[in-house]
C-alpha cells in the first residue's frame, strides 16, 4: 500500500516564507529598542512664510519644534512678540502635530514629532520691516529665536490696485457721543478678473467697544459677502451691478452701515482688505483701506437744556393728523415724525403732559416706532373743550454737532375744530379734569400706611382647591348614608330600647344619688340590667347571675355580680351586713357596659 504523493515545497519558497514570518519582528524590534534606550534630539525653528508680500496679503511667522527620540515634544508656553511699527501680529494659532518614523544608520526605527504654531502678520503700509528676535518658551526651554532678525518686504499690489476697488467714503475724525456716523464702502473688481473667490477682511466688525450698529435699511436685494475664510460669516451688501470706471467695466457692491458711539474715547478701525483669489497657479489680488480711528467726544454740559433727553445730530420734525374737525369727547390721532441723520432711536419721546399748551388736552395713549431712518410717534389726544382751537407746537431739544450747541426743534402748531356740547350734561368733561376733589371728600380718605415692607415668602400656601371641597362634600354625604345604613341593621338607634340601653349607666347614677338604702340600690341595679338587656326589671328581682340574659359576660364578671348581689340582698333583707356603696354598684355597672355590648 502506498501513501498518496504530496508535492514537495521548493527550497526557495520555504526561505521566502520564513522571511515573511520574521520580517515584522525585524521591523518592531529596533523601534522598540529606540523607544527604550535611544537618546532624543530637539530643535526649534522660527521663520516667516515669505520674505515678500503684497500689501493686504497675509504672512505668517511659523514656529516649529521638533523632537526625535524617545519622548514627546513640549508645547509653546509663552511668547513675547516684538512691537514693529506698521506691523500687526495676530494671536498664536495651533499647534498642528505631525509624526514620522524612519530607520537610522543601524537599521533601528526612530520616531520624530513636530509641533507647529503660526502667528499672522499684517502690514498696514508698504515698506521693509525688520522683525527682531523674540523670546519664547517651548518644549520646556527658554530660547530667543530666530537666529537672526527676519525681514519682511511689503509691496504694493500693482495689479490688485488696478483690478480691485475698495473705496471708503471719508469718515469724520471726531464725533460726539451719540452722534451717528456712516461707514460707506464701495467694493468691486474688474470684469477682467476671472475665477477664484472673494473675501473682505474687516477684523474690527462687531468688536468695537461702546459702538452700536444701527439697524441697516435693507431692501431684500442684497447679497452676502464673505468676511471669513471658512465662509461662515457674511455681510449684506447692495449690488450696484456692472459700472464703467476709467473706460473698463467693474462689478461693484456697496457696504453701508450706520454706527453710534455710546461713550467717549477712540474707535479704531484696523486695515480693511479685499482679497480676490484667482485660482491655482495665480497670485491673489489685494486692495487695502489703511487703518484709521475716530475720536468720540462727550456732549458738552454747557448750555444743555433741562429737557434734553439725548437727541444728537441733524433732526427734522413734521406732524399730521387724520382728522382735525372733531366732536367734543372724540380723540385726535396726532402723528409726529422725526427724520434726518441724527440718533433717532436714542432720545425719549416728548411727554405732552409736561409740554406747555397741552393742559387742555387729555393724552389717552401714545405709540412710539423707532427705526434708524424715521421715528414715528402717535399721540391719541382728546381736547377738553370746544374752546381748544389748536394743537400747540411740540418742542424737542437737540444737540447740533455742527454748531456744537443745543437747538430746539418743534412741530408746527395745527389748527383744529372741536364741536361743543349743547349742555353741561352732554359735556363729558363736566366735573372732570378740573383738578378739584369735591369738598369733604378728601379728608375722609384714609392715609397711607407708612410701615416699611416686611420681606418674606410671597405666598404662605394656597387653599386645597375647589375640587377638594366638593370631594369632601361628597365624602360627607356618602359617609353619612353608609354609616346610617350600617347602624340601622342592628335596630333603630333612636328607638326607646336603644336609648334606654345607652342611657342605662347615667340613669343608674341618678337613681343611686337618690337611693336611701340597699333595697333602693338593688332596685336601681335591676333597672339598669333591664335597660341594658332589653328585659323587664321584674326579671332581675332576686337574680344573682347574669347567665341567660347577658351573653358574653366573663366568669370574673359573673362572680363579681353574684357577690355584689348577695351583699345587697343580705343588707336589704337581713340587715346588719355592710351594704355595697354606690361606687361599687357603678363600678360593676361600668364593667358590664364595657364587657357586654
Amino acid at each position: 500500500m502506498h501513501a498518496p504523493i504530496q508535492p514537495k515545497t521548493p527550497p526557495l519558497r520555504r526561505v521566502r516564507r520564513a522571511l515573511m514570518l520574521v520580517a515584522p519582528l525585524a521591523l518592531v524590534t529596533p523601534f522598540a529598542s529606540a523607544q527604550r534606550g535611544g537618546a532624543s534630539q530637539s530643535s526649534v525653528d522660527v521663520s516667516l512664510t515669505s520674505g515678500y508680500a503684497k500689501l493686504g496679503e497675509e504672512v505668517r511667522i511659523v514656529i516649529r519644534a521638533t523632537v526625535s527620540g524617545n519622548r514627546e515634544v513640549g508645547g509653546l508656553e509663552s511668547i513675547e512678540l516684538p512691537e514693529v511699527e506698521g506691523l500687526d501680529f495676530g494671536r498664536v494659532m495651533g499647534p498642528s502635530t505631525s509624526s514620522r518614523f524612519e530607520m537610522d544608520g543601524r537599521g533601528r526605527m526612530v520616531g520624530t514629532q513636530t509641533l507647529t504654531y503660526a502667528v499672522a502678520v499684517a502690514a498696514s503700509r508698504v515698506g521693509t520691516f525688520e522683525i527682531p528676535r523674540f523670546p519664547l518658551r517651548i518644549d520646556g526651554r527658554d530660547i530667543t529665536a530666530p537666529d537672526a532678525p527676519m525681514t519682511l518686504k511689503v509691496l504694493e499690489d500693482i495689479e490688485g490696485s488696478r483690478a480691485l476697488v475698495l473705496e471708503l467714503e471719508e469718515l469724520p475724525a471726531r464725533v460726539f457721543e451719540g452722534e451717528p456716523y456712516t461707514f460707506d464702502l464701495t467694493i468691486g473688481w474688474s470684469m477682467g478678473v476671472r475665477g477664484g473667490s472673494v473675501l473682505l477682511q474687516v477684523p474690527w466688525w462687531g468688536r468695537q467697544d461702546g459702538v452700536i450698529e444701527l439697524q441697516p435699511q435693507l431692501t431684500g436685494a442684497e447679497r452676502g459677502f464673505p468676511i471669513d475664510r471658512r465662509g461662515r460669516s457674511e455681510l449684506a451688501v447692495s449690488d450696484l451691478g456692472v459700472r464703467d470706471r476709467d473706460g473698463a467695466p467693474y462689478q461693484l457692491y456697496r457696504l453701508r452701515r450706520r454706527f453710534v458711539a455710546t461713550r467717549p474715547g477712540t474707535v479704531s478701525f484696523p486695515r480693511t482688505v479685499l482679497e480676490v483669489s484667482r485660482g491655482r497657479g495665480r497670485d491673489a489680488l489685494y486692495q487695502v483701506v489703511p487703518e484709521f480711528s475716530i475720536e468720540v467726544v462727550p456732549v458738552p454740559e454747557e448750555g444743555r437744556p433741562l429737557d434734553w433727553t439725548g437727541a444728537v445730530g441733524p433732526i427734522e420734525v413734521s406732524r399730521d393728523a387724520q382728522r382735525r374737525d372733531i366732536d367734543l369727547g372724540d380723540s385726535l390721532e396726532l402723528s409726529v415724525r422725526y427724520s434726518g441723520s441724527g440718533n433717532l432711536e436714542f432720545f425719549e419721546a416728548p411727554k405732552l403732559e409736561r409740554v406747555e399748551g397741552f393742559e387742555r388736552f387729555r393724552v389717552l395713549a401714545s405709540t412710539d416706532e423707532k427705526t434708524p431712518f424715521m421715528r414715528a410717534i402717535e399721540y391719541e389726544l382728546v381736547p377738553m373743550g370746544p374752546d381748544v382751537t389748536e394743537v400747540p407746537p411740540i418742542p424737542l431739544s437737540v444737540f447740533d454737532p455742527e454748531s456744537g450747541g443745543y437747538v430746539t426743534i418743534a412741530t408746527e402748531p395745527m389748527t383744529i375744530r372741536v364741536s361743543g356740547a349743547a349742555s353741561d350734561e352732554e359735556d363729558p368733561f363736566a366735573g372732570l379734569g378740573s383738578g378739584e376733589v369735591p369738598e369733604g371728600r378728601a379728608p375722609t380718605l384714609r392715609d397711607i400706611q407708612p410701615r416699611p415692607v416686611t420681606t418674606g415668602p410671597r405666598s404662605t400656601g394656597g387653599g386645597p382647591g375647589a375640587g377638594a371641597g366638593l370631594i369632601a362634600l361628597l365624602v360627607a354625604f356618602g359617609g353619612w348614608v353608609t354609616t346610617r345604613r350600617a347602624v340601622r341593621r342592628s335596630g333603630d338607634p333612636g328607638g326607646r330600647r336603644a336609648r334606654a340601653k345607652r342611657g342605662a349607666l347615667g340613669a343608674l347614677r341618678r337613681e343611686l344619688r337618690g337611693a336611701d338604702g340597699p333595697g333602693a340600690r338593688a332596685l336601681a341595679l335591676e333597672r339598669f340590667l333591664a335597660a341594658r338587656t332589653g328585659t323587664s326589671p321584674g326579671e332581675w328581682i332576686g337574680r344573682s347571675s347574669l347567665v341567660g340574659s347577658v351573653d358574653g359576660a366573663s366568669a370574673a364578671l359573673e362572680r363579681s355580680f353574684t357577690e355584689l348581689r348577695e351583699r345587697l340582698d343580705r343588707a336589704a333583707y337581713q340587715g346588719g351586713a355592710a351594704a355595697p356603696g354606690d361606687d361599687e354598684v357603678v363600678a360593676l355597672a361600668r364593667r358590664i357596659v364595657q364587657e357586654v355590648r
Binding site: 390721532e333 369735591p438 397711607i448 386645597p464
Partner: protein, 261 residues
C-alpha cells in the same frame, strides 16, 4: 363630661365666628421706622414716593398682605393725584390680595364715588351678602368649603349613630352649607384671569387689530374689568364680548398683583 363637651362646642363656635366674621386685618399706623416711600411722601415728594412704592411692589419678595399695603399706598397717591379711577384699580388690587383690608375698603368706596362708578354689587341686601363673601381670599374660601363638608359629615354621623334625637345636628350641618360655600362660589363666579381694569375716564375704544387706524368695534367703559390675553408695545389684547380684541394698554391697570398665588 358635659362640661368638656360644652368647652369643645364653645371653642368650635369661637373658631367659626372668627372665620365667618372675617376679622379685619390690623394695620399699625406708627410712623417710626416708616419705609422710604412713606418718608418721601411725608416730605412732599409724591412722585418719588410713588416710584419707591412701585419699585418695591415689582421687586419685593413680600407676603401678600405687604404687597397689598403697597398697592393701598399707591391708591392713596393716585387719588391725591386726582386720578380716582386709577385709585379704584389700586384699592381693588389691594383687596384682591388682602380682602379684609379695612382702609382699602373704605377708600375704595370713596374712590368709586369720585370716579362716578356705580356700586359694583348693585346695593341692597345682596350687596351686603356679596360684600361679606368677598372678605375671604380664594384659599380661605376653599378651606371654608372643606370645613362646611366636615361639619356636614359630623352632623350626619351624629344622626346615624343617635337616630331621631340627633336629627337637629344633621339639619344644622346642612343649613350651614350655603354659608360655608358662599365665599368660594362668589370667588369662582367673579374670577377673571389676569384681570385688568379700564382706568381711562372716557373709556377705551376696542379695535380688532393693534393699529390706531383700524375700525373701532366697541367701547369699554371706565371701571370695566376685562381679561388680558396678550400684549404688544402700546396695546393689550383683551376678551371683549367673547372675542379677542385690542385696546390701548395705557388705559388699563392690572388688578392681579400676585399672579403666582
Amino acid at each position: 363630661m358635659f362640661a368638656r363637651t360644652t368647652r369643645g362646642a364653645l371653642a368650635l363656635l369661637f373658631l367659626m365666628s372668627g372665620l365667618l366674621l372675617g376679622a379685619d386685618s390690623a394695620h399699625a399706623q406708627a410712623e417710626d421706622g416708616a419705609g422710604p416711600g412713606a418718608t418721601l411722601w411725608r416730605t412732599g415728594d409724591r412722585d418719588a414716593a410713588v416710584r419707591a412704592w412701585t419699585e418695591a411692589l415689582e421687586a419685593a419678595e413680600a407676603p401678600a398682605a405687604e404687597r397689598a399695603r403697597l398697592a393701598y399706598n399707591l391708591g392713596v397717591a393716585a387719588h391725591r393725584d386726582e386720578d380716582p379711577l386709577l385709585a379704584v384699580a389700586w384699592f381693588t388690587a389691594c383687596l384682591r390680595l388682602d380682602p379684609r383690608h379695612r382702609d382699602a375698603r373704605a377708600n375704595l368706596a370713596i374712590a368709586r364715588t369720585d370716579a362716578a362708578l356705580e356700586d359694583a354689587d348693585g346695593g341692597g341686601p345682596a350687596s351686603a351678602v356679596l360684600g361679606w363673601a368677598r372678605r375671604y381670599t380664594r384659599s380661605e374660601a376653599e378651606w371654608l368649603a372643606v370645613l362646611g363638608s366636615v361639619l356636614l359629615l359630623a352632623g350626619g354621623l351624629l344622626e346615624a349613630f343617635r337616630g331621631r334625637p340627633a336629627r337637629m345636628a344633621l339639619f344644622l350641618g346642612v343649613a350651614v352649607q350655603p354659608v360655608m360655600w358662599a365665599p368660594l362660589a362668589v370667588a369662582i363666579a367673579s374670577d377673571v384671569p389676569d384681570a385688568h381694569m379700564v382706568v381711562e375716564p372716557r373709556g377705551l375704544q376696542v379695535h380688532p387689530m393693534p393699529e390706531p387706524g383700524t375700525d373701532k368695534v366697541g367701547k369699554l367703559a371706565a371701571g370695566d374689568v376685562v381679561e388680558a390675553l396678550d400684549e404688544l408695545p402700546g396695546w393689550r389684547k383683551v376678551r371683549f364680548e367673547g372675542e379677542e380684541r385690542w385696546v390701548r394698554a395705557s388705559g388699563l391697570a392690572p388688578l392681579d398683583l400676585d399672579p403666582g398665588l
